[in-house]
């Protein structure tokens, strides 16, 4: 198996009591004087919550910022699709919330695989985020008196989730985007939309620039800076079908990994239990139905296998409400990972419903009978409408069909407490890093993390980096830039030159099937080993028989997709390897060999209470695993139970 290095990580977590670490860190950080800030240039890749908020905040401080995104406008980054809300420890409902409780819940929810100090900082700045967003004009829900409203989320015991209807992500992103555009108008941010980052330029061991492809002209462009912030999201699209946007990809993060940034915990993926199931081979993406539906809906499958009847024609005596049966204490409200695995178990056993047999029912019949259709409509009307639009079925009449889908990735590039990767000068923010969610993310925490990193962490830590390094000026004519540019160009030229027989979509679907079947909701050794071989074969097939038409010097969506797929094919192998090496079950990572008698996840704190950070050693070569040991001082290690 892979070689394990015994590197001692310097995660740069400050000394002192947990509650004082961040303040102490800020006090000890060096500052850049205002006149010098103007001379410092910072590249920010990605314009989601993390990227837009970081770019805006850095520009406000006076730095020159260059902001890149592959979409046609920064406002379209996929943070926009988040529905539910954003957590903060404001304790407005007076129900006993506090920074410590939010910290505790997040560490525990992450199944004890996150770094305590990072999570505590996240909980600390959560309140500033709400203040900042409210001041920007984010229309958070309000009570009649005009103060902010909260709702409960994901089984938490307190109400700490702030929301803007079902479009919280959209409103927060538009807030960050507006702050960014304000800086564009001052001239401190230069915007580069429709640019895809294809390589990181490292000069003398420090990240000093990027290579991008202009997606309209196809030209390759070089940009230099004093440091680079990567805010490029997660890698869920490795599975082909996910709730991610079609364009979401791992390319920028992966190319940084190939330049020396360690990739941490790539096997941690979150599978969301309530998505609209796949309806056919042509399916291009999956749509999430909010978790809140499980408050009133009951999940079941027929008692007999391959029951062809419509859901509403199956009598109660022939239904198996399996969540209520298996988890009488939590019933339909068990956490995401548990609900997802239970649905898969039933479908694998042959009880699935619908044409694909890969779905379970989520039934509102009893809730409608109890509260009336009107009450259900008031609560979930927009979700029911969306379901009807996509499936053509009326969920008021027949039960919804749902199935789990890939939703979020907790793994990402390894970062220290300053959010700096193993390459000095390369900072990684938001979903692209690994730091805060451990092996499982709690609902309404992704938005919080993206904005915490961008508004309140990176502006300090990048300043400290710039103040404590004397960076010589670099020109984009430097050899490192030329080499990286040639590297990116060659790769594209190679893809265009193959002119084989297979479309990128067909290969991506195949990769998705491999990952979903062997490295999805549950994993076991043999399957993972099989997957590893299959991915390698598929990668070889890609490089021998991909068919991409058109030229490189034009808008070429075919080429864009193939390039991203090539990276997913390399990344997929690492994901599987990480899953193989982690011989335990924790959060979103479930190894069938490691479960309790009741089929629950069995963690191994003795041997796996660490972050696995992988070092790239060449495509097809075994990467080196480095381990950052995790210590749980404030929240003692404990087992979760929902029985």
């Amino acid at each position: 198996m892979a070689e394990t290095a015994t590197t001692v990580f310097n995660s740069r977590v400050p000394e002192g009591p947990m509650a004082e670490k961040w303040d102490r860190c800020k006090q000890e950080m060096k500052l850049v004087n205002p006149a010098n800030k103007r001379k410092k240039k910072i590249i920010v890749v990605g314009t989601g919550l993390a990227g837009a908020s970081a770019a805006a905040s850095l520009a406000e401080l006076g730095y020159q910022v260059e902001s890149f995104c592959f979409q046609d406008s920064p406002r379209r980054a996929h943070s926009i699709a988040a529905q539910g809300g954003i957590n903060a420890a404001k304790n407005y409902p007076n129900d006993g919330d506090s920074v410590w409780r939010l910290f505790y819940d997040t560490v525990k929810g992450g199944d004890f695989r996150s770094r305590e100090a990072n999570v505590h900082r996240l909980a600390q700045v959560s309140n500033n985020i709400i203040d900042q967003c409210a001041a920007q004009g984010v229309p958070f829900a309000r009570d009649y008196g005009g103060s902010l409203a909260n709702r409960s989320f994901g089984g938490a015991q307190v109400s700490r989730t702030f929301y803007a209807r079902g479009q919280t992500g959209q409103q927060l992103l538009l807030g960050a985007y507006s702050a960014l555009m304000r800086q564009v108008s001052t001239g401190r941010v230069k915007l580069f939309p429709r640019r895809e980052m294809l390589d990181l330029v490292v000069v003398d061991g420090v990240a000093r620039g990027i290579i991008v492809r202009n997606l309209i002209t196809g030209e390759f462009e070089k940009y230099s800076a004093d440091c680079v912030l990567l805010c490029t999201g997660g890698y869920g699209n490795a599975f082909y079908l996910s709730t991610n946007a079609k364009g979401s990809n791992v390319t920028a993060a992966w190319r940084c990994h190939k330049r020396g940034a360690f990739f941490a915990n790539p096997c941690y993926t979150q599978i969301h239990p309530t998505c609209i199931p796949v309806s056919g081979d042509y399916q291009s993406k999956l749509t999430l139905m909010s978790e809140s539906l499980r408050n009133d809906g009951r999940v079941w499958v027929p008692e007999s296998q391959s029951d062809e009847r419509r859901g509403n024609q199956i009598p109660d005596t022939e239904r198996d409400y399996y969540l209520e049966r298996r988890y009488p204490a939590f019933g339909n409200l068990v956490p995401r990972d548990v609900a997802s695995r239970a649905a898969k178990e039933r479908c694998d056993a042959g009880y699935g419903v619908g044409p694909s047999k890969q779905a379970v029912f989520l039934d509102f019949r009893d809730a409608i009978a109890r509260d009336g259709r009107h009450a259900i409509e008031a609560k979930y009307g927009n979700l029911f409408h969306m379901y009807a639009k996509i499936t053509g079925e009326d969920p008021y009449q027949v039960p919804m069909r749902i199935y789990p889908a890939v939703h979020y990735t907790m793994g990402g590039l390894w970062v220290d407490y300053h959010l700096q990767s193993t390459i000095p000068g390369l900072f990684v923010l938001g979903e692209a890093n690994f730091s805060d969610h451990g092996a499982n993310r709690l609902g309404a925490s992704a938005l919080m993390q993206g904005l915490a990193d961008g508004y309140f962490v990176a502006p300090y830590t990048t300043g400290h980096f710039l103040a404590s390094h004397s960076l010589p000026a670099v020109s984009t004519d430097d050899d490192a830039f030329k080499e990286a540019m040639a590297n990116a160009q060659d790769r594209n030229a190679k893809i265009l030159g193959i002119q084989g027989t297979r479309s990128s979509d067909s290969i991506h679907r195949e990769l998705g099937h491999i990952l979903w079947d062997y490295c999805g909701m549950s994993r076991e050794r043999q399957g993972l080993e099989t997957a590893m071989g299959k991915i390698r074969d598929l990668r070889d097939e890609f490089w021998s028989s991909i068919k991409v038409l058109g030229q490189g010097e034009q808008l070429n969506q075919n080429l864009e997709h193939a390039g991203r797929l090539a990276d997913f094919l390399e990344f997929g192998e690492l994901m599987v390897r990480d899953a193989l090496v982690r011989e335990e079950s924790c959060g979103g990572h479930f190894r069938e060999e490691h479960q309790t008698k009741e089929n629950e996840a069995l963690r191994d704190d003795e041997n796996f209470c660490h972050v696995a950070a992988w070092e790239f050693k060449g495509v097809g070569n075994e990467p080196v695993e480095h381990r950052e040991h995790l210590e749980f001082v404030e929240v003692p290690l404990a087992t979760r139970s929902y029985k």
Binding site: S73, C133, P139, S279, S284, T287, Q557
Partner: protein
């Protein structure tokens, strides 16, 4: 349960922004009624690649109706026949067997075609740049509950803030006017107490940029409202008119 359709598509193909374009006809068979419109285009593109033809370029990203990246004029209607729906959420069950579907890009001087069905909507970003924000630096925000916002004001602001910036309003307007987009942003910020200090300059600067970009004038035909996937109301346009006149006639700016 699943039916299939045979369709004829007439799609605008244009190799580049300066190159001439034309409509090309494609035949498709066995399209499942459960497909989304974009999935139908994916299928067509797969067939084109197999035949050695370049795929049709079209913008899309989230495919769940919120990012605003997808566009398309489908049979002369922005985002197709359904109201309150983006193209990515439009499903093929909305069409009949043997239908001919004409697919065109958004057409406006301010939205030049880049390739095939992809247009450049950066004009919207430039309008936002001129005032679609509240000037508050990171860290200088007051405690969130210090400024109460009455629930109905928040609701009005949210109704306007729901705009996804797709440009369907411009595409559907016979004058290619961007008033619905601009008014949604101005309404969102100007109704909230936080947006008051910049109210006058925001309306004036954003309208000035809108005019500069070459959008047409609003003639109150209300086609924008009907085409808007986020169902933004034209009452926002009246509010923008009011804001603008108020700023011009009553403010010191």
């Amino acid at each position: 349960m699943s039916e299939t359709l045979d369709l004829t598509l007439k799609v605008w193909r244009q190799p580049g922004s300066d190159a001439p374009g034309r409509y090309v006809e494609y035949k498709l068979t066995g399209i499942s009624t459960h497909m989304s419109f974009l999935e139908m285009l994916d299928v067509l593109n797969e067939q084109l690649i197999a035949k050695g033809e370049e795929m049709i370029a079209f913008d899309h990203d989230c495919r769940e109706g919120i990012c605003g990246m997808c566009s398309l004029m489908i049979n002369g209607q922005a985002h197709g026949p359904d109201t309150g729906t983006t193209t990515c959420q439009l499903h093929m069950r909305r069409f009949k067997n043997r239908d001919t579907i004409v697919v065109e890009p958004w057409r406006a001087k301010a939205f030049p075609v880049i390739r095939d069905l992809v247009v450049d909507r950066s004009a919207f970003d430039r309008i936002i740049e001129k005032g679609g924000f509240i000037s508050v630096n990171t860290g200088s925000a007051p405690e969130a509950n210090a400024i109460p916002v009455p629930a109905h004001i928040q609701e009005t602001a949210m109704d306007a803030a729901a705009c996804i910036g797709c440009g369907a309003c411009v595409a559907a307007c016979k004058n290619a006017s961007a008033m619905l987009f601009v008014s949604a942003k101005v309404s969102h910020l100007s109704t909230l107490p936080q947006g008051q200090p910049e109210r006058a300059s925001r309306a004036q600067n954003m309208v000035a940029q809108m005019d500069l970009e070459g959008f047409g004038n609003c003639t109150n035909t209300e086609e924008c409202q009907a085409a808007c996937p986020a169902e933004i109301s034209v009452s926002n346009i009246a509010r923008l008119n009011r804001e603008y006149l108020r700023a011009k006639l009553c403010s010191y700016e």
